[in-house]
Symmetry: C2
Subunit: 86 residues, 2 copies
């Protein structure tokens, strides 16, 4: 593995775990008024596209990371819709 | 360019523009109470790592996209700090 590969893997891990603090905070407070809906939807598309890319180039770690990211993204979008009127 | 490359480029564009709706919303409302600080900081690290990776593999579009993403990230972290007590 080259040093560039290592940076790329670190970036993948950071990128897919990025929304975990938001998920935890929103779950605890049940408040998402200040969180942009567009951001949660773009994160969902981001995970879908990287997942498809991972499958196409047969990069298993990328597929696993973005499958987890996708679950987080769907949960966030759902929470944004559900907490909308609260 | 293969179809996998095209999906990868689309994912890069979506990933780096992901925070734009959040930036616009937070700028307008001056409210970031519900936005997790950890999420803005991880997005900043995400952009730094992809920027470094882009430089290492000499991928100019990736460098440009993540340089823009980094400016967005720094602005978001700054806004989160500045709007904290409001």
């Amino acid at each position: 593995m080259t040093s560039a590969d290592m940076v790329g893997y670190a970036a993948t891990v950071v990128g897919t775990s990025m929304m975990l603090p938001q998920l935890i905070k929103s779950w605890r407070t049940k408040q998402m008024h200040d969180v942009a809906a567009g951001m949660t939807i773009l994160f969902l598309f981001n995970c879908v596209l990287w997942l498809v890319y991972g499958v196409m180039i047969s990069a298993t770690p990328m597929v696993v990371a973005n499958a987890i990211g996708l679950v987080v993204a769907i949960t966030l979008v759902g929470m944004k819709l559900y907490f909308h009127d609260k």
